[in-house]
Symmetry: none
Subunit: 268 residues, 2 copies
């Protein structure tokens, strides 16, 4: 974003501030849950839960930094009649934390999906390689648009970034489709829902990305972008991890794994 002072009302400023704090709490809560819930699932799905924990742990760290950065970007306050306005210096607010976070967490989210399927090592590696490369390309192409100050540049890079995104959808829907058909009954339904959750939450990011160019005003755009990203992050990381847990738990109870849940629990 360009160096500029944006005037935020106290309500707008505090909405984002409080939502960031809530996001830290939600991610930390999810971290504790995923770490603790590992012994509720069969041994072969524990890696998926561990990766879920890593994802929300990394996100908690980054939201702590983002929260600090939001607080530090206030250049001062001013009274506009009766209303207190926050002079927010967008150049001081560090957007890059979010991209650093996504670089670590987005490939791991895709690893979670593959890990919970319980494929052969060979197949698993192939899918993880493809999806990781596509995820990194998607993020790397989005970043130049995010830091651009003009609409054209933002739209150009946003469009380029959509190409690997569509490829990821192709892999999840078409290539992984067969693997999902082989899953036991109820897990199949949950895996379909997981893909839909991913589509719905990831579809939220482009909307937040475009918020600043939709002509809804600089202050509203800034607030919409940050509220949108925070809600999308909670859903796509903590919510997604909960669905992964739910699938792993279902497969454990249905005995779709290599061992009985009782055996796995007894082995602890």
């Amino acid at each position: 974003m360009s160096e500029a002072i944006v005037e935020l009302t106290a309500g707008q400023y505090n909405l984002v501030y409080n939502l960031f704090s809530l996001t830290i709490a939600a991610m930390a809560a999810a971290f504790v849950f995923f770490i603790g819930a590992r012994d509720q699932v069969d041994k072969k799905y524990r890696k998926a839960l561990l990766v879920s924990a890593v994802v929300v742990g990394v996100a908690a760290y980054h939201y702590f930094r983002i929260f600090q950065s939001w607080g530090g970007a206030v250049a001062g306050t001013e009274m506009a009649g009766e209303t207190m306005m926050y002079m927010f210096n967008t150049a001081e607010f560090n957007d890059a934390y979010r991209y650093a976070d996504w670089l670590v967490t987005v490939p791991l989210l895709l690893v979670e999906v593959v890990a919970v399927l319980g494929l052969t090592k060979e197949k698993e590696r192939g899918f993880i390689a493809k999806l990781t490369i596509a995820a990194v390309a998607m993020l790397a192409l989005g970043y130049p648009g995010e830091i651009a100050s003009d609409t054209g540049t933002r739209l150009l890079w946003g469009t380029l970034s959509s190409i690997p995104f569509v490829y990821i959808l192709y892999v999840l829907w078409i290539e992984l489709g067969d693997a999902i058909k082989d899953q036991p009954g109820h897990a199949q339904v949950l895996l379909r829902n997981l893909r839909l959750l991913l589509l719905a939450t990831w579809g939220f990011y482009p909307i937040a990305y475009l918020a600043p160019v939709m002509g809804i005003g600089e202050a509203t755009g800034l607030v919409a972008l940050n509220v949108g990203y925070a809600i999308a992050d909670i859903t796509a990381k903590a919510g997604f991890g909960l669905m992964i847990y739910s699938i792993a738990r279902t497969k454990t109870l249905e005995g779709g794994g290599s061992g009985q849940p009782q055996a796995a629990a007894a082995a602890e």
Copy 2:
């Protein structure tokens, strides 16, 4: 480095700042993963994973300090025409954290390699002693060059530091070569890759070390040094640990250890 103010563009300053933050996150993420993944491998390889966790945990701590030090070394900002420049005081930026980190972590990385081989206690101790002494010598000889301000001194100590480095390579390739030949099929391939990863990442450090004397300009040299070290550290510690995990997991599944993975779990 000599006491001097180096002028960095906002882009250069922020690149290093954000990369340091990303490194903290990556190391902390790897820490959680290695601690959590211990029950995925046979009991005899758990020490290797625990040591991996210690390495990235120590690195996360040091990168937190380095990150703070980088932020604190800015003496002020100045406008050069349209561009904001950061006045960076290199005397305030503490390089020694990195050497403190390496003194702890580099010998431990070599312990990881030996530990995952599953040798006899006797042989293991011999290799660890040799490799630890060489690693400490390599770092102790590199440090005087790192803090020197003139090219000649930097090159002299850099060259001396290479001698124990070459000895480490000799031990890993020649002396450990036989031990690697005795490993089960797929683990052998992974162990060869592990050595190559070590060579590739450790080969990166001398390049970063020499960046300030390559005549690429003081600001660019400073940025190149720090970007290079951070990327090398992530690869050589978190990436290396992931390969150790992969080898331990493969040996566990192939039953190349003392027991079945189920037996190992039952032993919990």
